[in-house]
Symmetry: C3
Subunit: 323 residues, 3 copies
Amino acid sequence: MTNTAANPTPSQIIKEFPLTFFRGIGQVMFQDSIWTGIFFTIGIFWGAYASHTPAVAWGMLLGTFVSTLAGYLMGLKDSNGSQGLWGFNGCLVGCALPTFLGNTIWMWLAIIFCSAMTTWVRSGLDNVWGKWNLSTFTFPFVLCTWFFLLAARAMHGMPPVEESAPAFPVEGSTALSLGFVDLVIYWLKGISQVFLINSWVTGAIFLVGLAVSSWRAALWCAISSAVALLVIILWQGPGADIAAGLYGFSAVLTGIALGATFCNYSWKAAVWAVLGVIATVFIQAAMNIFFAPIGLATLTGPFCIATWLFLLPAYPWFMPKSN
Amino acid sequence: MTNTAANPTPSQIIKEFPLTFFRGIGQVMFQDSIWTGIFFTIGIFWGAYASHTPAVAWGMLLGTFVSTLAGYLMGLKDSNGSQGLWGFNGCLVGCALPTFLGNTIWMWLAIIFCSAMTTWVRSGLDNVWGKWNLSTFTFPFVLCTWFFLLAARAMHGMPPVEESAPAFPVEGSTALSLGFVDLVIYWLKGISQVFLINSWVTGAIFLVGLAVSSWRAALWCAISSAVALLVIILWQGPGADIAAGLYGFSAVLTGIALGATFCNYSWKAAVWAVLGVIATVFIQAAMNIFFAPIGLATLTGPFCIATWLFLLPAYPWFMPKSN
Amino acid sequence: MTNTAANPTPSQIIKEFPLTFFRGIGQVMFQDSIWTGIFFTIGIFWGAYASHTPAVAWGMLLGTFVSTLAGYLMGLKDSNGSQGLWGFNGCLVGCALPTFLGNTIWMWLAIIFCSAMTTWVRSGLDNVWGKWNLSTFTFPFVLCTWFFLLAARAMHGMPPVEESAPAFPVEGSTALSLGFVDLVIYWLKGISQVFLINSWVTGAIFLVGLAVSSWRAALWCAISSAVALLVIILWQGPGADIAAGLYGFSAVLTGIALGATFCNYSWKAAVWAVLGVIATVFIQAAMNIFFAPIGLATLTGPFCIATWLFLLPAYPWFMPKSN
C-alpha cells in the first residue's frame, strides 16, 4: 500500500529535482544513476535530431518532468521518487506519443496527462503486482500509451502519423543483409529502440551509459540484443523489422531484468535469463501479429510479459539472497 | 468469500422482492433506492418506446427479475440482495441484448441465461477484486454480455442486427452541430446511454431519479457528462458518436463512482474525480478502436477500467473515513 | 510458492519416468492414471495416422517427454510430477504445433522450447491462481501455444499451414446433417478434439480410457459433449465446425472438471456442471469470433475461462467436503 511520507519542503524538492529527474531516465534500464540518465539523454537527443524527429527528445524531457512532478504533488513516498521510479514511465510516454502521433497542441497536452497518469497508475498497479513480489516494470507506460495511441485513431485533434495501418497480419519479407557491419548495426539499434530511437550511434551511447552504472547491466544488454537477433534470424522473421532493431528492445530489457537486476548471479540464473530473452522474441512476434488489425505498437509489453513469466515461479535457485 | 445466510422464508422473499427489484435498477448508478429505480424504469420505457425498440424495456425488466431471483435461489447472503446488488448487472444485460440482437426466442433465452450468470459471476469475481477492496462494478454484465454478443455472430439463432460491422478502425467524421440546444441534447444523451437509451428526455428523467436519492450523485452525473463532452469535442472525436451520447455514459459512471460514492468529499477528491472522467474519455475512444475489427460494443468497460485505475492507488487523501 | 523437495536420485527418476509420462497424458482429462494415458496415446496415434498427420502423434510424445523432463531438471516438488501434472500442458503443445504449423526443423525446436516453457509457466501462474484456490488447468498450454502460433505468422521458418486465414468474423453456414449416426459422430469428435484429433474412433477410445480410471469422468465426458452439441444446434452455429467437434472439446473439459473432479457429487453440483457446459458453448463461440481477425485457434481457452467462472464463487453447496 502506498503511503504518504513526511513531505519534503519545497526547497528540498527543488534541490533534489534534477537528480530525481535524471535517475528517472536511467531507470528505464533499471539504473538508479544520474550519469546513466545523462548519457541516455545525450543518446536520445542525438538519435531524435539525426532522424529529424526532435519532438521525441523534447517529449521525453517533458514526460519525465511531469511524471516526476506528479509524484511530488501527490505526496507519494519519497524513497520511490528519489530512486527515479516516478519518472521512467513518463519518460517513455514522452518518447512514444511524438513518435507515432502528429505534432499538435492536443498531442502535447496528451503527453502531459498521460505521463502524469503513469505515476498514479504505477502506484495502483504496484498494489496488485506486489501481492506476488513483482514489479509492474514499464507496464504503466505501456497501458496508458496504448489508451492514447488507440484513442488517436478516433480523434482528429491528435491524428496518428507513424502508426502502422490497421491490417490483417501478413508475413513480411525476410530479405536482410547479413554482413558483419550490418549485423552490428541491427544489434545496436535493438538497444536504441528501448527509447523508440532508430540509431546505432544512440545504441552505442546507451551501452556506455549502462556501463558507467553497472558493467553487468551493459554486458546483459549486449548479450540480449545479440541473442534476440540470432533467434529472429534463425526463425526467419521480417527483414525490415529486424534491421530496425524492433526484435531487440524488449529482449534487451528482459535480459537486463533477469540477468543483472532481479535474479542472483549464478550460472543457473544466467541460463534462465537467456531462456527469458528467447521467449521474449516469440512473444514480441506474437504481439506484433495480435495488434496488426488495430495497427498498434507493442511498446515494451513483450518484455513485461516475459519477465513476469520468468520471475513468477520464484525458484530458489534464481532468487537473490537478499530476498 | 460469499456465504449463505439464514435463508429468508418464501413469504419474506415475495414481500421483499419488489423492493429488491427496483433497488437493482437504481444500483446501475450506485443508488440503493427504490424511487431511483422507478424513475429509471420510467425513463427506459419512455426511451425504448420512443425509439420503437420496446424489447429493450421489457428485456430490462426480465434481466433484473432473473438475476435477482438467481440470488435468492442460490441462497446468497441477503444483505447484498436487499441493497439491489444482484439485479443491476442483469438489468443491463436485459437492455443490451435486445439493443444489438434480433428479436428471436433464442435471444430471450440468452437474456435469461446471461442475466442469471451475472449473479454468480459477480460473486466469483468479487472474491478476486475483493483482495484489493475493489468492487467489480458492472464488469460481470460487461464480460457476460461480450460473450453473448460475440457468440451471436456465429449463431443464426440470435443474429446481430444493430451491432457495428467488423471493420478496420477508421477515423469518423468530426462534423457536429455546436449550438447550445444541440450541446444540451448530447449532454443528456450521454446520461441516457448508461442504459443504452438514445433519448435526451430519458437523460433528464435519470437526472431527476438520481436527485431523488442523492443530490451529489445527480451533480456528478451532470458534471461528468459535460466534462466528457468538452474533452471529446476539443480532441475532435467522431461527430455521430458524440451526438448520440456514446462518449458520455462511461464517464458518467466514473464521475458518480469517484465523485459521489467511493471517495471522500474533499476538494482533492473532486479534482481526482474530474481526472478520472477525462481518462475515461480516452479509454472509451481506445476501446472503440480496439473492438472495431470484431464490431463489438465496449459497453461500460471503459468506466470499469478507469475507475479501478483511480481507486487502486488508495491514496489517503481520497479514501473515505469509514474505510 | 513452489519448493524444491529432496531430489530423487537419477535411477529413481529413470524408474518412475514412464509412469509420470503416461500420467501426464491422462491428466489432460484430469486422470492420474497410466492406463488412461496409454488409451489416450493409442487414440491419438490412431487419429493422427488416419488423418495423415503423424507429426501430431509424435509431437505429442515429444511435448510430454520434454515438459516432464523439465520438471525433473528444475527440481520441482515431486508430488506434482508423479501425478503427471508436469506433462499434460506439454502434451497438448505437442499436438497443437504440428496441427497448425508446417513440418520444419524450427517447428520441432519450437515444440521443445514451448513445452518446456509450460512447466515453469505453470508453476509461476499457480502462484497467482493459488491465491483463490484455483488451478491454472490447461492455461499454460493455451498461453504459450498462442505465443508460438501467432509468432509463426511472422516467421518463415515455421509457417502456418492449417491455421485459419485472418479475416473479419462472418457467419458460417448452418447446413448440417442431423441423422442419428451423424449426431453420434459429431458427439464423439467433440471428445477427440480435446487433443486436436478429428476422429470419432479416437473419441470412443478416449471414452474407454476415461472409464478405466473413473466411470464418473467418462459419464460427464459423454454428457458434456451431448449437451454442447444440443446447445450449438439449437442456436444454429456453423455446421462445419459442429460436424468437426469444435464446439465439444472445451465443453467436455468443463464437464469433467465441474461434474467429476472439483465439485462434490450432489444433484445441485450436477446442475451447476451442466450450466457450466452451456456457458462454455457461448464462450467458445465468442472466442472464435474474437480471434477471427488474427486467425488464431482458441485452443482450450474457453474451458479455462468457463471453469474458473464456475469455481470462483465457491458456494458451499458445490464445494467438495475435503476442501
